[in-house]
Point group: C2
């Protein structure tokens, strides 16, 4: 088990109700309620950029930690600490807001059953997905799994359409298919063809996992956007509290013996700590993108991050970029362009 695991979980840690939200249109209540009313596009760009950079550095840290040697820590404990840190950071941000703006209806922690009842759902979905992950490796190897994970792009698009009831234009759908094909192409290696030998059962599991992950992401967006006036840090706090609870359950299910025998922090190093901090910040950036942009922006942001990672790795680790990478990067770039021009007037 490696750091890669916590990456899978965090990247999409969000989702909730079943409501229509006008994508791309500024919400004056939200804008008014947060840090000085800067234009909505500026905030949207900032959180998107933060997510892209954090996701890129995440992958680079994974490579770095691998090079530094294998770490035999429990992934579930690291995931739990990521949730705890996110929770603590949300509380810190809230404390600062309470000091400067005072406690209001929108930023107080007090809540109702009606508000909080949906928050455990994304965390529960990720728990199921992470448990399934242990079984899919019986059918697919790790590089094959990386390739199959690109199905998340399609599942997010489909569920975004269904759950949030947003229309995507034909050009946007074309762009989404290209994003999936381009990302997969960029990741092709000489062994990638193995994935075509995946048995039917493996495909079904990969599709179920993509749907779980996509559903959790879209559901988090619905939860967060259902109450646009609610402070994002309060919303995050509740998301992360349930994240902590469900990751505690995961520790018990998957790593109870190991933690009981070797201790909670066995195998931790300074790299582990840096990665936990990075994952926590990425997780918060994902929430912010859900609040001020949407899942479509998130998918594009993390896909572009994947390409940036590869380019940075050339300089940091002397990686060689393959022809497939250049072709995939070209297709992803065209996809980003089409997504931009294909947006219907909303």
């Amino acid at each position: 088990m490696e750091y890669r695991k916590i990456k899978d979980q965090d990247k999409d840690e969000e989702s909730a109700g079943n409501l229509e939200i006008s994508r791309g249109k500024p919400n004056s209540a939200v804008l008014g309620g947060l840090s000085g009313g800067s234009p909505q596009w500026k905030r949207k760009s900032m959180v998107t950029l933060a997510l892209t950079i954090l996701t890129s550095s995440q992958a680079i840290l994974i490579v770095w930690s691998k090079r530094a040697g294998k770490y035999e820590y429990s992934v579930t404990t690291a995931n739990f600490l990521v949730e705890t840190l996110k929770c603590a950071l949300s509380l810190l941000a809230l404390a600062k807001i309470w000091r400067t703006e005072g406690v209001t209806e929108d930023n107080r922690l007090n809540t109702t059953v009606d508000e909080v009842i949906v928050y455990p759902i994304p965390a529960a979905l990720y728990l199921v997905k992470n448990l399934l992950q242990y079984y899919i490796f019986a059918y697919v190897d790790a590089p094959g799994y990386q390739i199959l994970k690109n199905l998340n792009i399609i599942s997010t698009g489909v569920l975004y359409r269904i759950i949030l009831k947003k229309r995507l234009s034909d050009i946007e759908w074309a762009a989404f298919i290209l994003l999936c094909a381009g990302c997969t192409t960029a990741q092709l290696t000489s062994n990638s063809d193995h994935v075509l030998q995946t048995p039917l059962y493996g495909w079904v599991m990969a599709i179920v996992m993509a749907l779980l992950s996509g559903f959790a992401g879209v559901y988090t967006e619905a939860i967060i956007k259902k109450r646009p006036q609610r402070n994002i840090n309060v919303q995050n706090f509740y998301l992360y509290v349930f994240g902590m609870i469900f990751n505690a359950i995961a520790i018990v299910i998957q790593d109870f013996d190991e933690v009981a025998n070797k201790g909670f922090f066995h195998g931790y190093s300074s790299v582990t700590v840096v990665m936990i901090v990075n994952h926590a910040l990425s997780g918060i950036a994902v929430s912010m993108v859900m609040k001020y942009a949407d899942n479509i922006v998130k998918v594009y942001s993390t896909s572009v991050a994947m390409l940036l990672t590869a380019i940075v790795s050339v300089f940091l680790f002397g990686f060689h970029l393959s022809l497939a990478f250049f072709l995939g990067a070209t297709v992803v770039s065209v996809s980003v362009y089409l997504q931009k021009v294909g947006k219907p007037q909303r």
Copy 2:
């Protein structure tokens, strides 16, 4: 030297003036002058389908002939015979038209210097390109050359824009880039990365060859469309006569000793004959596409043919399709879709 060579030459055997033609709009003069005035789109679809099928079977014949053994015939003599056959077929078609419709201003062979002066240019460009082809293999291996040949797609688009002064919409340009990336992706093999080590001189030659090939194609379209009322068989006759002349020059330059010592038909077999017939018919189909459609349709048609070939080869030769092929085919399909929806109103 193999059959692959004559494929290179024929596929783009066409080109002309410097005039504006309304792409996609039916020309009543052309329609009236030929086989009963069926709607323009029907004829356009038919010639496009013919080109796609002939190009696919061309590539399949290449595989078949390779399996049957190596043929040590002179490629230049085969090219010469292809031109001769095309010339003969054009004359046959004309003879039939003269019998049924009588000799008219539009279908008589009589010509003026002003009309005929431009016809040698495409053939001359192909001669230069084919001679260059011998040198590029000093810098690139054969599979690498197949990959670099996809630059033809981009060069055709750029020259189509410049020479024929046609506007392509932004979506159409995006589709063109995707077509190039998709075709290259579909052709990726485990050795494809070698092409990235191509020295600068090899890249320059590949780009020059792509420009020559694209220019010849676009120039042929300009020649053919400059006189829309002129019978296509007359136009073909003059194109192919100069094709014969320039291929005769190629025999002298490249294979004079071999032909003098072993004879003109040395190494020919029944497969060679089938391939020459196929190439001749493909060449005529390309001319028809230039007359009734355009270079953009031609590029799409031959690219789709490449994918069809691979699929048919699975059944005929037990080929395995790679993941890269599926990804490339997906990107090409999206490109075809975008090209269709992205067409500006002309």
